[in-house]
Amino acid sequence: MKARLLVALMGLMASLLVFGSVLALAALARDMGTVRVTDVLQGNTQAIATALRIRLDRALSLGIPVTDLVGVEPVFLEHLGRHREVSFFAMLDSQGNALTFTPSPALAPGHHDLAMAEVASQNPSPAFNAAFQAVRTPLRGSEQSDIQGWLVTGYPVNYIDQQVNAVVMDLLVAMLIATVLVIEIMRYAGPRLGVGPLWQFRAFLKQVQHGHLHALSPLAGAGRWGQAGQAMSRRIQALRQSVQALPQGVSEDRLAWGKTHGLLNPAAPWLHTAQPSRLRLMVFLTVLSDELVRPFMAVHASQMDGPLALSVQALAGIALTSFLFTWALSQPLGAALLRRYGSRRCLMSATACVALAMWATVWSQQWVLLVVCRAVTGAAFGFVLIFSQTAMLRLSRDHGRARAMADFVGAVVAAGICGPVIGGLMSVKLGVSTTFVASGLCAAAAWVLAAQQAAIPSAVAPGPPLSWASLAALLRNRRLMTLLLCSAIPGKLAATAVLLLVVPLAVADMGESASLTGRLLLLYFLAFWLVSGWAGRWSDARQNRVSFVVVGGLLSALGCWAGGSGHGAWSLVALCGLLGLGQAWLSSAQIVWATQLAEQDPAGTDGEVALGIYRLLERMGGALGPVVVAFLMGTQGAQASLTALGIALAAGSLITLIALGRANALGGEPGRHPSDRS
């Protein structure tokens, strides 16, 4: 108890130190930045006031009294819209009486009243001084005239605080990204640092504690732990040999005892996590290479020299579509290439192509070349993903396929969390070319990992290769098509529509900045990343796919309903959170179930080929998402569209349950592996 308290206390201290350090840096920056920002802000305010004064003086120079000037408020509003750092404008007469007061729409109600009450005051209250700085500019008409009035321009004293608040939010996001990065790296480095084997050793001790002797110690080495583990392994092996030396047909009680404690079979090996962890990091790095360039790719493409007949939106859209199109087309070809050339060569080739294409993009000064580079990148990127998924399925054939898929999906989502923010910062500070180079380096690092990876052969004899006949067989597989049409495609359609279209437009309609969009999308990916691993493991442990797919679909439907029936930012939070949760819940189980449904079909379509076709159809469904929802939004509005999506997802889940509820626990996966207990 004392030791546990000590461990907890140390963990708490470490967490406090980390948070405290980060917040201390933010406070230091605030103190440092206040003077500089205030200085620039004052200069801006004076320049804005001067520009306005010139306009007003022009009218006054024509002999119009300041009290008779019309159209002043629209001019003030126009300038407030252009210069968001200004809090209010006011015009006073020569006696200092307020004639016009125009606040910024973003001004809080309390500050609005305070400014309006004291704008004309010669000695404003401390409360006013604490909130605003005001610049008074005389209005004369001409340089020789007397002062006919005053223009008062106010800006917030706490402008830097608004920036610091934004910094704190950025820091929380940065800490999240750092945590995700560290976890991804530790998944790879963990086995090499002995973390995985230590955790397996704990599982081994717990099994022995409860009398299960079917495994030996996973630890080696001359250290205390290794020696203790080896000593226990020797004792367990001695018992096993004694039990197994008994002749059959006699000593029933001793054989029964041996069976109870797992001593009749050879010792079960521990799952080596090095290969899957290497594959996972390779997937993470490859996806990261694309996510780094995602924040600015559309703008970069739109600014290139392209055909003048194409609008800037078309220049951006075609470049993006070329990537997605070749990505989708690469999916069905994965299984055939893997069988012909082996996983190691395929992964090395694909990651090398991603790296080279990213580097070639640096020199693509023409839009057409950029589109070609993006198309090549998309194809290579798609190949890396389909090769990796297939390899992970091969490695996990005997234990935990859904868990393996959760690992794959987790790596993709983790890169989606980290990449855009890092890429956005890099492009701003280091430039677009440097970011492309960094992106290529990520893919090159993935190539190194692919080169270290041994070839992963298929554990079962390959089925019929990809052909029109196998495609037709898949399309005739009613169970698989039900799963695709009722669950997979609607889910992907909803996810892409919500993330790419509904949320950004809803946030823009609310008048909020793009950073809120980024945080909402981050919430989706975070929910996905946190839950998908758990859901995959649980699905494997329970040997159940349908309940995960159905529950995931219903959660996604609930999210769409919450987004469609609510208002404001919280409804969007519910939408992104529940949609991410639901998709994470069903994702791994759905992919594994699809391959199992294909394999169980009497037509005998290969699971690996089926995976490629499944991904192609799923991606096409995802591409339709924004188009379908844009049409719905245009005719029915955003909220009705979300409600319709929710109904479609719920209906699809229920149809899946009714049609496929009995086709559950497929594949006959063996009993639990020792590592599954950890």
Partner: protein, 257 residues
């Protein structure tokens, strides 16, 4: 089979992660500060460009082409004199050619590129809803190009302003230096704390192992083993060995093999 990593490795991982986190925080904070200042400075550049553009458009509305407006040079001089951060102001015609231009004394060779200007003018006049302004930052500074439209709304030229990024950049550099120094100090403190913590854990583990080795009774005391139930596992293993020995003894006594 792998073995657990040593104390030094764990400390390196922990301290490196902490230092990396602080470095990222330093970079992020400094970039945010720079961005706040850049936004303000860009706003100033846009204001200056718009002032000149409004003036030129005023002349266009009464039918005077920009190249025929004689006051533009004086107005540009006035704008540059009022603000020391302006590096260049140029008035361009509809083909992107420079009509009037002034550069700050310290600037060399910063003329607007006609090809780039033509591209921006083409984009700004491409459709009625096209943006009337383009802005970006590069090594030269903040660049703002604002279209100048005649009475019918056609783009007849542009104003190009380059504004110095000295204020945001010096703020960024100062922030990096100061916060970077603090990050190093905090990382050193964290390293000491981690070292102390790991040493405590190692000492506690050694003591627990020694106590376990010295214990002659069946090990079952779990104190000192919060995470790894080694005494309990050894205790169970010992009991199972005793059970097996008892079963074998019973079988032997009945004459079974």
């Amino acid at each position: 089979m792998p073995a657990p990593a040593g104390l030094l490795t764990w400390m390196t991982v922990a301290v490196t992660s902490f230092a990396a986190l602080l470095f990222c925080a330093t970079l992020l904070i400094s970039l945010r500060l720079e961005k706040a200042l850049t936004d303000l400075v860009q706003d100033r550049a846009v204001l200056i460009a718009r002032q000149l553009a409004d003036s030129v458009e005023g002349g266009l509305r009464v039918g005077i082409r920009p190249e025929d407006q004689t006051e533009n040079a004086r107005k540009i001089d006035g704008l540059m004199d009022r603000d020391a951060g302006v590096l260049l102001i140029a008035l361009l015609d509809g083909r992107g050619q420079t009509l009037v231009q002034r550069m700050a004394g310290t600037v060399v060779g910063q003329k607007p590129d006609p090809v780039t200007a033509q591209r921006h003018l083409a984009r700004m006049s491409g459709s009625p809803t096209a943006a009337d302004r383009v802005s970006w930052s590069d090594a030269r500074g903040i660049q703002v190009v604002i279209s100048v439209k005649d009475a019918t709304g056609l783009v007849s030229g542009a104003v190009w302003v380059v504004y110095s990024l000295q204020a945001p950049q010096s703020a960024f550099n100062q922030s990096i230096q100061r916060l970077g120094g603090w990050s190093v100090a905090l990382s050193a403190g964290f390293a000491v704390l981690v070292l102390a913590g790991l040493a405590l854990v190692r000492r506690a583990t050694e003591q627990a192992f020694q106590k376990l080795a010295a214990s002659t009774a069946a090990p079952s005391d779990s104190r000192g083993w919060p995470i790894f139930p080694l005494p309990q596992a050894l205790g169970t293993l010992g009991r199972l060995e005793a059970q097996w020995a008892e079963l074998c003894a019973k079988a032997d006594s009945r004459g079974r093999p």
